[in-house]
């Protein structure tokens, strides 16, 4: 399935700037992150620390992904 990823903050130097086009067998948010960690060893510091969002909705672990979806990758936040 093709997805458009939008990495944020410290994920940009690892994954590149949005849109990052990927073709992945992942069907839901958890599988997408597992797949990304396998593809990008540079993501190791963010294991279990990335949230996914589509539009303005944060995704639950089993949220299914639609072909062509734009998925935001949200690392730990540091505003203030």
């Amino acid at each position: 399935m093709k997805l458009l990823l939008a990495p944020y903050g410290p994920l940009i130097p690892v994954l590149g700037t949005a849109p990052v086009c990927v073709d992945t067998p992942a069907r839901n948010a958890t599988e997408l992150l597992d797949w990304l960690h396998a593809q990008y060893p540079g993501l190791a510091p963010w294991r279990q620390r990335i949230a996914c969002a589509v539009g303005d909705t944060l995704l639950s672990a089993d949220a299914t992904l639609a072909e062509g979806a734009e998925v935001a990758l949200i690392p730990p936040v540091s505003g203030g």
Partner: protein, 141 residues
């Protein structure tokens, strides 16, 4: 954008509008410091997931007004390139009694740092640019 802004935060505007119900006002500002963990800082960049950050900041303001005995809570967070001394975030709370203003203000800044998809990248005098390690969202996988 209601809570995010790309230009310098106008405190005077924020403070305007007297509110005859409230007896206490508390304005918190976060400012770019010239040092962090022993390194000399020359500036800072802030980026955000705009839609999520706006929604999260709005939720914090409304939650603060529900959880604490305050009249109002406003938050403005700046994005983009900031210089030393620039204000990155301003939180203004009004309340009838000061206790609630202090509690709500403190809660708002702590919650902002934990929940709002904004990222800070520090620019050091030695040339390095470093994203600070942040707080993992509850929804992280």
């Amino acid at each position: 954008m209601k809570h995010l802004c790309e230009h310098p935060i106008a405190l005077t505007e924020l403070l305007q509008g007297s509110d005859h119900q409230s007896g206490a006002g508390l304005l918190f500002t976060g400012t770019v410091r010239n040092h962090h963990a022993g390194r000399a800082v020359r500036g800072m960049s802030y980026t955000a997931h705009h839609a999520l950050a706006e929604a999260a900041l709005e939720t914090i303001c409304r939650d603060a007004e529900t959880r604490f005995d305050i009249v109002s809570c406003r938050i403005i967070h700046r994005l983009g390139e900031l210089q030393l001394g620039d204000i990155s975030v301003a939180i203004l709370v009004h309340s009838a009694h000061r206790e609630a203003a202090y509690e709500a203000s403190r809660w708002a800044i702590e919650t902002l740092k934990q929940k709002v998809p904004i990222w800070k990248q520090e620019h050091y005098v030695d040339g390095a640019d470093v994203y600070l390690d942040g707080t993992t969202l509850d929804q992280a996988l």
